[in-house]
Protein backbone atom coordinates (compact mmCIF):
# COMPACT_ATOMS: atom_id res chain seq x y z
CA UNK A 1 0.00 0.00 0.00
CA UNK A 2 1.25 3.44 -0.85
CA UNK A 3 -0.38 5.10 2.11
CA UNK A 4 -0.61 3.38 5.47
CA UNK A 5 -2.55 5.15 8.21
CA UNK A 6 0.37 4.74 10.61
CA UNK A 7 2.71 6.77 8.45
CA UNK A 8 1.20 10.03 9.67
CA UNK A 9 1.79 11.38 13.16
CA UNK A 10 -0.84 10.60 15.79
CA UNK A 11 -3.21 13.56 15.71
CA UNK A 12 -6.93 13.76 16.20
CA UNK A 13 -8.85 16.58 14.59
CA UNK A 14 -12.51 17.47 14.59
CA UNK A 15 -13.59 20.03 12.00
CA UNK A 16 -16.78 22.12 12.31
CA UNK A 17 -18.96 19.39 13.70
CA UNK A 18 -22.69 20.04 13.87
CA UNK A 19 -25.14 17.66 15.48
CA UNK A 20 -28.90 17.79 15.80
CA UNK A 21 -30.83 15.71 18.29
CA UNK A 22 -34.42 15.92 17.11
CA UNK A 23 -35.11 19.65 16.79
CA UNK A 24 -32.25 20.70 19.04
CA UNK A 25 -29.07 21.98 17.49
CA UNK A 26 -26.79 20.37 20.04
CA UNK A 27 -23.25 20.82 18.75
CA UNK A 28 -22.78 24.07 16.84
CA UNK A 29 -19.62 23.85 14.84
CA UNK A 30 -17.22 22.19 17.27
CA UNK A 31 -13.60 22.10 16.14
CA UNK A 32 -10.71 20.70 18.12
CA UNK A 33 -7.30 19.15 17.68
CA UNK A 34 -5.28 16.87 19.96
CA UNK A 35 -1.64 15.92 19.38
CA UNK A 36 0.43 13.07 20.76
CA UNK A 37 1.01 13.47 24.49
CA UNK A 38 -1.95 15.79 25.02
CA UNK A 39 -5.05 15.53 27.17
CA UNK A 40 -8.14 17.42 26.08
CA UNK A 41 -10.85 17.85 28.68
CA UNK A 42 -14.33 18.63 27.44
CA UNK A 43 -16.28 20.47 30.09
CA UNK A 44 -19.72 21.97 30.32
CA UNK A 45 -23.07 21.58 32.07
CA UNK A 46 -25.22 18.44 31.84
CA UNK A 47 -26.99 17.96 28.53
CA UNK A 48 -24.68 20.26 26.58
CA UNK A 49 -23.57 17.39 24.31
CA UNK A 50 -20.33 16.12 25.84
CA UNK A 51 -21.27 12.47 25.47
CA UNK A 52 -22.62 13.05 21.95
CA UNK A 53 -19.35 14.71 20.96
CA UNK A 54 -17.35 11.78 22.32
CA UNK A 55 -19.63 9.32 20.52
CA UNK A 56 -19.06 11.24 17.29
CA UNK A 57 -15.32 11.10 17.85
CA UNK A 58 -15.53 7.35 18.47
CA UNK A 59 -17.51 6.94 15.26
CA UNK A 60 -20.64 5.70 17.00
CA UNK A 61 -22.85 8.53 15.75
CA UNK A 62 -23.10 9.34 12.05
CA UNK A 63 -22.03 12.90 11.33
CA UNK A 64 -24.39 15.21 9.52
CA UNK A 65 -21.79 17.87 8.82
CA UNK A 66 -18.16 18.11 9.76
CA UNK A 67 -15.46 15.47 9.91
CA UNK A 68 -13.33 13.57 12.39
CA UNK A 69 -9.77 13.07 11.23
CA UNK A 70 -7.22 10.65 12.69
CA UNK A 71 -3.66 10.66 11.41
CA UNK A 72 -4.72 12.86 8.50
CA UNK A 73 -7.52 10.58 7.31
CA UNK A 74 -11.26 10.79 7.74
CA UNK A 75 -12.24 8.03 10.16
CA UNK A 76 -15.15 6.96 7.98
CA UNK A 77 -12.73 6.00 5.25
CA UNK A 78 -10.46 3.88 7.45
CA UNK A 79 -12.84 2.78 10.17
CA UNK A 80 -11.23 -0.56 10.99
CA UNK A 81 -7.72 0.86 11.31
CA UNK A 82 -9.09 3.70 13.42
CA UNK A 83 -10.99 1.39 15.76
CA UNK A 84 -7.88 -0.68 16.36
CA UNK A 85 -6.15 2.43 17.72
CA UNK A 86 -9.08 3.63 19.79
CA UNK A 87 -10.08 2.69 23.33
CA UNK A 88 -13.52 4.02 24.25
CA UNK A 89 -14.85 4.11 27.79
CA UNK A 90 -18.57 4.80 27.86
CA UNK A 91 -20.98 5.44 30.72
CA UNK A 92 -21.70 1.72 30.64
CA UNK A 93 -18.84 -0.47 31.81
CA UNK A 94 -19.61 -3.29 29.34
CA UNK A 95 -19.34 -5.93 32.06
CA UNK A 96 -21.24 -9.19 32.33
CA UNK A 97 -22.54 -9.50 35.87
CA UNK A 98 -22.42 -13.32 35.75
CA UNK A 99 -18.76 -13.50 34.74
CA UNK A 100 -15.90 -13.03 37.18
CA UNK A 101 -13.62 -10.00 37.01
CA UNK A 102 -10.92 -12.06 35.32
CA UNK A 103 -13.33 -13.58 32.77
CA UNK A 104 -14.80 -10.17 31.99
CA UNK A 105 -11.37 -8.77 31.30
CA UNK A 106 -10.31 -11.81 29.25
CA UNK A 107 -13.37 -11.68 27.00
CA UNK A 108 -13.40 -7.90 26.54
CA UNK A 109 -9.69 -7.48 25.87
CA UNK A 110 -9.51 -10.79 23.99
CA UNK A 111 -11.57 -9.46 21.08
CA UNK A 112 -8.92 -6.77 20.57
CA UNK A 113 -5.61 -8.49 21.19
CA UNK A 114 -4.15 -11.72 22.46
CA UNK A 115 -3.41 -11.52 26.19
CA UNK A 116 -2.09 -14.04 28.69
CA UNK A 117 -3.71 -14.79 32.01
CA UNK A 118 -0.63 -13.41 33.76
CA UNK A 119 -1.05 -10.06 32.01
CA UNK A 120 -4.71 -9.96 32.99
CA UNK A 121 -3.86 -10.86 36.56
CA UNK A 122 -1.13 -8.22 36.83
CA UNK A 123 -3.50 -5.57 35.54
CA UNK A 124 -6.17 -6.51 38.08
CA UNK A 125 -3.59 -6.28 40.85
CA UNK A 126 -2.46 -2.91 39.52
CA UNK A 127 -6.05 -1.64 39.62
CA UNK A 128 -6.22 -2.93 43.22
CA UNK A 129 -8.74 -5.60 42.26
CA UNK A 130 -6.43 -8.47 43.26
CA UNK A 131 -8.89 -9.73 45.85
CA UNK A 132 -11.80 -9.77 43.38
CA UNK A 133 -10.26 -11.79 40.55
CA UNK A 134 -12.69 -14.69 40.91
CA UNK A 135 -15.70 -12.75 42.15
CA UNK A 136 -18.62 -12.30 39.74
CA UNK A 137 -18.88 -8.71 38.54
CA UNK A 138 -22.36 -8.60 40.08
CA UNK A 139 -20.84 -8.54 43.56
CA UNK A 140 -18.36 -5.73 42.84
CA UNK A 141 -19.05 -2.20 44.01
CA UNK A 142 -19.74 0.55 41.46
CA UNK A 143 -16.21 1.90 41.91
CA UNK A 144 -14.66 -1.54 41.47
CA UNK A 145 -16.65 -2.05 38.26
CA UNK A 146 -15.29 1.25 36.97
CA UNK A 147 -11.75 0.13 37.82
CA UNK A 148 -12.38 -3.06 35.88
CA UNK A 149 -13.53 -1.05 32.86
CA UNK A 150 -10.41 1.12 33.15
CA UNK A 151 -8.29 -2.05 33.25
CA UNK A 152 -9.74 -2.93 29.85
CA UNK A 153 -8.72 0.48 28.45
CA UNK A 154 -5.17 0.04 29.74
CA UNK A 155 -4.79 -3.49 28.36
CA UNK A 156 -6.12 -2.50 24.93
CA UNK A 157 -2.86 -0.57 24.40
CA UNK A 158 -4.50 1.85 21.99
CA UNK A 159 -2.84 5.25 21.44
CA UNK A 160 -6.12 7.17 21.51
CA UNK A 161 -8.31 7.08 24.59
CA UNK A 162 -11.81 8.52 24.46
CA UNK A 163 -13.19 8.53 28.00
CA UNK A 164 -16.69 9.53 29.05
CA UNK A 165 -16.72 10.54 32.74
CA UNK A 166 -13.90 8.10 33.57
CA UNK A 167 -13.76 8.83 37.30
CA UNK A 168 -17.45 8.28 38.06
CA UNK A 169 -17.76 6.28 41.29
CA UNK A 170 -13.99 6.19 41.88
CA UNK A 171 -12.71 7.01 45.36
CA UNK A 172 -9.81 9.42 45.99
CA UNK A 173 -7.25 6.62 45.79
CA UNK A 174 -8.84 5.39 42.57
CA UNK A 175 -8.70 8.86 41.00
CA UNK A 176 -5.04 9.22 41.95
CA UNK A 177 -4.30 5.77 40.52
CA UNK A 178 -6.12 6.61 37.30
CA UNK A 179 -4.38 9.99 36.98
CA UNK A 180 -1.10 8.13 37.25
CA UNK A 181 -2.17 5.81 34.41
CA UNK A 182 -3.18 8.81 32.29
CA UNK A 183 0.11 10.61 32.89
CA UNK A 184 1.99 7.46 31.90
CA UNK A 185 -0.09 7.10 28.75
CA UNK A 186 0.56 10.73 27.77
CA UNK A 187 4.28 10.41 28.48
CA UNK A 188 4.33 7.42 26.12
CA UNK A 189 2.92 9.56 23.30
CA UNK A 190 -0.75 8.70 23.82
CA UNK A 191 -3.73 10.99 23.30
CA UNK A 192 -6.69 11.38 25.61
CA UNK A 193 -10.02 13.07 25.03
CA UNK A 194 -12.23 13.03 28.07
CA UNK A 195 -15.47 14.51 29.32
CA UNK A 196 -15.38 15.20 33.04
CA UNK A 197 -16.86 17.54 35.59
CA UNK A 198 -13.67 17.56 37.57
CA UNK A 199 -10.32 18.80 36.32
CA UNK A 200 -7.93 15.87 35.86
CA UNK A 201 -4.13 16.20 35.93
CA UNK A 202 -4.57 19.80 37.00
CA UNK A 203 -1.71 22.20 36.25
CA UNK A 204 0.10 19.92 33.79
CA UNK A 205 1.30 21.79 30.67
CA UNK A 206 -0.05 19.19 28.23
CA UNK A 207 -3.63 19.47 29.53
CA UNK A 208 -6.13 21.65 27.73
CA UNK A 209 -9.79 22.34 28.32
CA UNK A 210 -12.60 22.82 25.82
CA UNK A 211 -15.70 24.47 27.22
CA UNK A 212 -18.98 23.55 25.55
CA UNK A 213 -21.94 25.87 26.01
Amino acid sequence: MSETPDSNPARLEVRSLHLWRGDRHLLRGVSLAVDAGELLQIMGPNGVGKTSLLRCIAGLLPLETGEVIWRGRNIERSREAYCQQLAYLAHLNALKSDLTALENLRFSVGTRRVVTTVQLHDMLVRMQLGACVDLPARSLSAGQKRRLAIARILLTQAPLWVLDEPITNLDAAGIALFEGCMAEHLAGGGLIVTAAHQQLLQGQPNVRTLELH
Binding site: Q84, L99, T111, R112, V114
Partner: protein, 227 residues
Amino acid sequence: MQPGMLQLLGLIVGRDLRLAMRHWDQVIQPLLFFVIITTLFPLAISPALDELRRIAPGVVWVAAMLAALLALESLFRPDIEDGTMEQWTLSGQPLSVMLLAKTATHWLLSGLPIVLMAPLVGSAMGMPPSAWGVTALSLALGTASLSVLGAIGAALTVSVRRGSVLLALLVLPLEMPVLIFGARAVDLAMHGEAVAGPLNLLAALLLLFISLGPFAMAAAMRISVET
Protein backbone atom coordinates in the same frame (compact mmCIF):
# COMPACT_ATOMS: atom_id res chain seq x y z
CA MET B 1 -1.21 -9.05 18.30
CA GLN B 2 -4.79 -9.26 17.11
CA PRO B 3 -6.69 -12.52 17.56
CA GLY B 4 -7.32 -14.49 14.38
CA MET B 5 -10.78 -15.15 13.02
CA LEU B 6 -11.06 -18.62 14.59
CA GLN B 7 -9.72 -17.38 17.91
CA LEU B 8 -12.35 -14.66 17.88
CA LEU B 9 -15.09 -17.20 17.09
CA GLY B 10 -13.88 -19.49 19.88
CA LEU B 11 -13.69 -16.65 22.36
CA ILE B 12 -17.26 -15.50 21.77
CA VAL B 13 -18.74 -19.01 21.64
CA GLY B 14 -16.86 -19.83 24.85
CA ARG B 15 -18.11 -16.69 26.54
CA ASP B 16 -21.75 -17.30 25.60
CA LEU B 17 -21.64 -20.96 26.62
CA ARG B 18 -20.19 -19.94 29.96
CA LEU B 19 -22.90 -17.33 30.45
CA ALA B 20 -25.54 -19.92 29.49
CA MET B 21 -24.21 -22.40 32.03
CA ARG B 22 -24.83 -19.83 34.73
CA HIS B 23 -28.38 -19.32 33.46
CA TRP B 24 -29.34 -22.86 32.50
CA ASP B 25 -32.93 -22.31 33.69
CA GLN B 26 -33.41 -19.81 30.85
CA VAL B 27 -31.59 -21.98 28.37
CA ILE B 28 -33.94 -24.97 28.66
CA GLN B 29 -37.06 -22.84 28.19
CA PRO B 30 -37.30 -23.29 24.38
CA LEU B 31 -36.94 -27.05 24.74
CA LEU B 32 -39.64 -27.23 27.41
CA PHE B 33 -41.88 -25.05 25.27
CA PHE B 34 -41.34 -27.38 22.30
CA VAL B 35 -42.22 -30.47 24.32
CA ILE B 36 -45.29 -28.92 25.93
CA ILE B 37 -46.72 -27.53 22.67
CA THR B 38 -46.43 -30.92 20.97
CA THR B 39 -48.09 -32.71 23.88
CA LEU B 40 -51.05 -30.33 23.69
CA PHE B 41 -52.13 -31.65 20.29
CA PRO B 42 -53.00 -35.22 21.34
CA LEU B 43 -54.95 -33.72 24.23
CA ALA B 44 -56.85 -31.27 22.04
CA ILE B 45 -57.47 -33.38 18.94
CA SER B 46 -57.56 -37.06 19.70
CA PRO B 47 -55.23 -39.64 21.15
CA ALA B 48 -55.84 -41.88 18.10
CA LEU B 49 -52.44 -42.44 16.48
CA ASP B 50 -53.92 -42.55 12.97
CA GLU B 51 -55.09 -38.98 13.21
CA LEU B 52 -51.97 -37.75 15.00
CA ARG B 53 -49.73 -39.36 12.42
CA ARG B 54 -51.27 -37.17 9.71
CA ILE B 55 -50.53 -33.92 11.50
CA ALA B 56 -47.24 -34.97 13.17
CA PRO B 57 -44.83 -33.34 10.64
CA GLY B 58 -46.65 -30.04 10.76
CA VAL B 59 -47.00 -30.01 14.52
CA VAL B 60 -43.34 -30.82 15.15
CA TRP B 61 -42.20 -28.19 12.70
CA VAL B 62 -44.50 -25.38 13.85
CA ALA B 63 -43.59 -26.07 17.47
CA ALA B 64 -39.88 -25.99 16.62
CA MET B 65 -40.34 -22.70 14.80
CA LEU B 66 -42.15 -21.06 17.70
CA ALA B 67 -39.64 -22.41 20.20
CA ALA B 68 -36.78 -20.94 18.13
CA LEU B 69 -38.58 -17.61 18.18
CA LEU B 70 -38.92 -17.72 21.94
CA ALA B 71 -35.20 -17.51 22.61
CA LEU B 72 -34.49 -14.81 20.02
CA GLU B 73 -35.61 -11.86 22.10
CA SER B 74 -32.71 -12.32 24.50
CA LEU B 75 -30.10 -13.02 21.81
CA PHE B 76 -28.60 -9.53 21.60
CA ARG B 77 -30.49 -7.53 24.21
CA PRO B 78 -28.21 -8.16 27.23
CA ASP B 79 -25.14 -7.21 25.20
CA ILE B 80 -26.80 -3.99 24.05
CA GLU B 81 -27.97 -3.07 27.54
CA ASP B 82 -24.61 -3.46 29.27
CA GLY B 83 -22.63 -1.74 26.52
CA THR B 84 -20.77 -4.82 25.26
CA MET B 85 -22.17 -4.47 21.75
CA GLU B 86 -20.95 -0.88 21.55
CA GLN B 87 -17.45 -2.10 22.38
CA TRP B 88 -17.71 -4.83 19.76
CA THR B 89 -18.60 -2.34 17.03
CA LEU B 90 -15.47 -0.41 18.04
CA SER B 91 -13.19 -3.44 18.34
CA GLY B 92 -11.82 -3.11 14.81
CA GLN B 93 -12.83 -6.74 14.22
CA PRO B 94 -15.50 -7.80 11.72
CA LEU B 95 -18.82 -7.42 13.52
CA SER B 96 -20.40 -9.93 11.13
CA VAL B 97 -18.10 -12.69 12.41
CA MET B 98 -18.78 -11.80 16.02
CA LEU B 99 -22.54 -11.85 15.51
CA LEU B 100 -22.32 -15.12 13.58
CA ALA B 101 -20.48 -16.62 16.57
CA LYS B 102 -23.28 -15.48 18.85
CA THR B 103 -25.87 -16.93 16.47
CA ALA B 104 -24.03 -20.25 16.32
CA THR B 105 -24.03 -20.46 20.12
CA HIS B 106 -27.69 -19.57 20.13
CA TRP B 107 -28.38 -22.51 17.82
CA LEU B 108 -26.27 -24.88 19.95
CA LEU B 109 -28.34 -23.94 22.99
CA SER B 110 -31.83 -23.63 21.51
CA GLY B 111 -31.84 -25.49 18.18
CA LEU B 112 -29.71 -28.56 18.88
CA PRO B 113 -31.71 -29.75 21.93
CA ILE B 114 -34.89 -29.58 19.82
CA VAL B 115 -33.21 -31.57 17.04
CA LEU B 116 -32.27 -34.27 19.55
CA MET B 117 -35.68 -34.29 21.20
CA ALA B 118 -37.71 -34.32 17.96
CA PRO B 119 -37.63 -38.09 17.26
CA LEU B 120 -38.90 -38.75 20.77
CA VAL B 121 -41.72 -36.24 20.38
CA GLY B 122 -42.44 -37.60 16.90
CA SER B 123 -42.73 -41.16 18.14
CA ALA B 124 -45.25 -40.00 20.71
CA MET B 125 -47.32 -38.80 17.76
CA GLY B 126 -47.10 -42.07 15.90
CA MET B 127 -44.13 -41.27 13.70
CA PRO B 128 -42.47 -44.53 12.54
CA PRO B 129 -38.79 -45.04 13.52
CA SER B 130 -37.86 -44.97 9.84
CA ALA B 131 -38.69 -41.24 9.77
CA TRP B 132 -36.72 -40.24 12.88
CA GLY B 133 -33.47 -39.66 11.04
CA VAL B 134 -35.04 -37.41 8.43
CA THR B 135 -36.95 -35.53 11.13
CA ALA B 136 -33.77 -34.77 13.05
CA LEU B 137 -31.81 -33.92 9.89
CA SER B 138 -34.50 -31.61 8.49
CA LEU B 139 -34.77 -29.87 11.85
CA ALA B 140 -30.99 -29.52 12.14
CA LEU B 141 -30.81 -27.77 8.75
CA GLY B 142 -34.02 -25.85 9.36
CA THR B 143 -33.45 -24.59 12.90
CA ALA B 144 -29.99 -23.34 11.89
CA SER B 145 -31.66 -21.31 9.13
CA LEU B 146 -34.23 -20.06 11.62
CA SER B 147 -31.44 -18.96 13.97
CA VAL B 148 -29.74 -16.90 11.26
CA LEU B 149 -32.99 -15.32 10.03
CA GLY B 150 -34.04 -14.69 13.60
CA ALA B 151 -30.72 -13.08 14.43
CA ILE B 152 -31.17 -10.58 11.59
CA GLY B 153 -34.59 -9.71 12.95
CA ALA B 154 -33.28 -9.52 16.51
CA ALA B 155 -30.48 -7.16 15.44
CA LEU B 156 -33.02 -4.91 13.72
CA THR B 157 -35.50 -4.80 16.61
CA VAL B 158 -33.13 -4.86 19.58
CA SER B 159 -33.36 -1.11 20.14
CA VAL B 160 -37.16 -1.14 19.93
CA ARG B 161 -38.90 -1.26 23.27
CA ARG B 162 -41.06 -4.39 23.57
CA GLY B 163 -39.93 -5.43 20.14
CA SER B 164 -40.80 -9.11 20.50
CA VAL B 165 -44.10 -8.94 18.61
CA LEU B 166 -42.49 -6.86 15.89
CA LEU B 167 -39.70 -9.43 15.75
CA ALA B 168 -42.19 -12.27 15.24
CA LEU B 169 -44.10 -10.34 12.55
CA LEU B 170 -40.84 -9.57 10.79
CA VAL B 171 -39.25 -13.00 10.95
CA LEU B 172 -42.11 -15.51 10.63
CA PRO B 173 -43.03 -14.66 6.99
CA LEU B 174 -39.37 -15.05 6.00
CA GLU B 175 -39.24 -18.43 7.69
CA MET B 176 -42.12 -19.89 5.67
CA PRO B 177 -39.97 -21.58 2.98
CA VAL B 178 -38.02 -23.37 5.72
CA LEU B 179 -41.25 -24.59 7.29
CA ILE B 180 -42.69 -25.76 3.96
CA PHE B 181 -39.64 -27.80 2.92
CA GLY B 182 -38.99 -29.09 6.44
CA ALA B 183 -42.49 -30.37 7.07
CA ARG B 184 -42.62 -31.77 3.54
CA ALA B 185 -39.41 -33.76 4.08
CA VAL B 186 -40.78 -35.33 7.26
CA ASP B 187 -44.10 -36.11 5.58
CA LEU B 188 -42.36 -37.83 2.64
CA ALA B 189 -40.15 -39.83 5.00
CA MET B 190 -43.19 -41.06 6.92
CA HIS B 191 -44.66 -42.40 3.69
CA GLY B 192 -41.37 -44.02 2.75
CA GLU B 193 -40.76 -41.78 -0.26
CA ALA B 194 -37.60 -40.04 -1.49
CA VAL B 195 -36.67 -37.04 0.67
CA ALA B 196 -33.58 -35.74 -1.16
CA GLY B 197 -35.48 -32.89 -2.83
CA PRO B 198 -36.74 -30.94 0.19
CA LEU B 199 -33.58 -31.75 2.20
CA ASN B 200 -31.37 -30.36 -0.55
CA LEU B 201 -33.47 -27.24 -0.69
CA LEU B 202 -33.22 -26.85 3.09
CA ALA B 203 -29.43 -27.18 2.88
CA ALA B 204 -29.32 -24.65 0.04
CA LEU B 205 -31.38 -22.18 2.06
CA LEU B 206 -29.06 -22.64 5.05
CA LEU B 207 -25.98 -21.96 2.90
CA LEU B 208 -27.61 -18.85 1.49
CA PHE B 209 -28.53 -17.53 4.93
CA ILE B 210 -25.14 -18.29 6.50
CA SER B 211 -23.23 -16.61 3.68
CA LEU B 212 -25.32 -13.43 3.47
CA GLY B 213 -26.98 -13.26 6.89
CA PRO B 214 -23.99 -12.07 8.95
CA PHE B 215 -23.59 -8.96 6.80
CA ALA B 216 -27.26 -8.10 7.25
CA MET B 217 -26.92 -8.70 11.01
CA ALA B 218 -23.89 -6.42 11.25
CA ALA B 219 -25.55 -3.65 9.23
CA ALA B 220 -28.71 -3.87 11.34
CA MET B 221 -26.70 -3.92 14.57
CA ARG B 222 -24.74 -0.79 13.63
CA ILE B 223 -28.03 1.05 13.20
CA SER B 224 -29.29 -0.26 16.55
CA VAL B 225 -26.12 0.79 18.38
CA GLU B 226 -26.32 4.35 17.04
CA THR B 227 -29.58 5.06 18.82
